[in-house]
Symmetry: C2
Subunit: 332 residues, 2 copies
């Protein structure tokens, strides 16, 4: 209920996901105003998919403007909180395109943290030109993170890259403003000594400009504020480049002709770079499988989020993170 | 001497700048190993440009790996420190593609701060698709900046946008991870109340993804670490998009044909997006005109840096920043 797109778009994505998995083990509970949701399902011609949809009524909505902790405490009847509670009771996966901070707060209150984890991290996954992908953690769950938080993000991101992306010995780097060890701020400098206490294959500082082309690491640790700026700047850099390109395509007759011929290629590229392809990113460190989708997520993003998240229930990532955490002692 | 490109490249750029300004008031002092520099000038066929080149011998070099403050203190004979000292004595502009932190430290020690300015800020300038440009301050001079530092970056960036970019009443925003006022970290939240003590035309939080396409502000305040990540992620986002695009151009015969026709357009686009077009960015808040060029700057970037910086001596930006600072009281 609390994403930037109308509920109808979200429900459309859910129905599409069910239609693409006909005969498979997927059912969806729509959490929100029951009457609204039911009428959308009826009007959207969901066909046989509707038999795999159930409804959980939640009369309230937490908005993007709400202060996360307070909103979660004061709104036990919101779709976001009821959805997370449903996860701890009955469902296997929870997906939301709502207020990220509120999802994190609700997950912490109702699911709790994996033993040993101080703060959860959102693991972003970016495609790379070279092939393969890079895990960026944290991209916005925990702002004002401590060095210990960052080292733990590394451990969780490593578990994700190993178990989900199938990388055998992931290389782990630290997001920084220079390659050299002397570069960075107080936080990055303190973090390095803690990372050395882990058995991560640590390769040092990683700068943003190489991440999409020739990433030197499989997992990049970042503080939530900087990580969120990073991922949104990649998005902006891609949108800006496409914008400049489209402008250039109007600059001459020759360019216009080339643009016409390349129209299908450009469409494919735009799709490839669009966040809706990935759908949603996992919140690591809490006891449960929680995915956060982009606030602007429409039907396509939600469909992909559901299909990708569906794979997640097989990984038992919370269990794997727990056993990794047990092996590490961050104390001085 | 201390950039990532060899001195020969830097000198080539300097000679090109002199050649493009023949008959105009520009002369250049090359600071570094005098013998090396002289032999490059001789071999690079500088022609009449050589009469406007002088040499300042500096036997030492501060490297990218050096810790800024220590390196500046211990190396009074480095090209970087001697260059900054030359600025306070004789020259009007100093340009370096060396260690950014060391340039900042040397400028603080030898030129000093403009009265009222607590920390200097590097003002990045990004082009936008819509037209015009956006000033991002700070993009890496001051990491671990305080709320007061950030509010002052706003004042300095505003003076820059007004006096240099000719914007009458610049709109000023704060880089953040959400549009809503409740979003952000401790630093951004504390900064907002200080910004309200200025007479800046403050428009609130600004997210990275809109900056290159439809920027809501003319000046964006950011902490140095996040600002540096932002600018390098834009660079990476552009490089990544071009990389994916080139990949797509090999995917079919039709795409190959389109790519062939668009080759000149793509070349122009790549140039437009390349940092070397802008050359260098000004360090605001110190008593003197200091420009920092990208570490990777080659001849083209250095030439553009010199030509752009040459305009700067007319602005008297240090004087304008000083009078803006006098009007503001940040104390509680």
């Amino acid at each position: 209920m609390s994403g930037d797109a109308p509920p109808k778009e979200i429900i459309k994505g859910a129905i599409q996901a069910l239609q693409e998995t006909e005969g498979m083990d997927l059912s969806i509970t729509l959490v929100g105003d029951e009457e609204t949701n039911k009428s959308h399902v009826t009007h959207l011609k969901s066909g046989t998919a509707s038999s795999r949809i159930s409804f959980l009524h939640a009369p309230h909505t937490i908005s993007m403007e709400d202060t996360p902790t307070k909103a979660v405490r004061n709104n036990p009847d919101s779709s976001l909180v009821k959805g997370i509670k449903h996860l701890s009771d009955e469902s296997e996966i929870f997906i939301s395109s709502g207020n990220t901070g509120a999802v994190v707060a609700a997950a912490l209150f109702n699911l709790g943290r994996i033993p040993g984890v101080a703060r959860p991290g959102l693991a972003g996954i970016t495609p790379t030109v070279k092939s393969g992908s890079v895990v960026l953690i944290d991209i916005g769950a925990t702002t004002d993170a401590s060095p210990e938080n960052l080292a733990q993000f590394g451990v969780m991101g490593n578990a994700f890259a190993k178990n989900v992306l199938g990388k055998e010995e992931p290389k782990v780097g630290l997001l920084n403003i220079g390659e050299e060890q002397s570069k960075g701020n107080k936080l990055t400098k303190k973090t390095v000594s803690l990372i050395h206490k882990t058995d991560l294959q640590y390769i040092g500082n990683v700068e943003p400009h190489l991440l999409l082309t020739e990433p030197p690491a499989d997992v990049v640790i970042c503080e939530g504020f900087a990580g969120n700026i990073l991922i949104k700047a990649f998005e902006g850099g891609a949108e800006g480049t496409l914008g400049f390109f489209k402008q250039a395509l109007r600059s001459s007759l020759r360019a216009k002709l080339g643009g016409l011929i390349l129209r299908p290629t450009l469409k494919k590229l735009q799709n490839q770079l669009n966040y809706s392809q990935f759908g949603a990113v996992p919140l690591l460190g809490v006891k449960g499988i929680v995915f956060v989708a982009h606030g602007r997520s429409g039907a396509r993003a939600i469909k992909n989020a559901i299909l990708n998240a569906r794979q997640a229930s097989r990984w038992d990532l919370p269990g794997k993170i727990e056993s990794e955490m047990e092996r590490i002692d961050f104390s001085e």
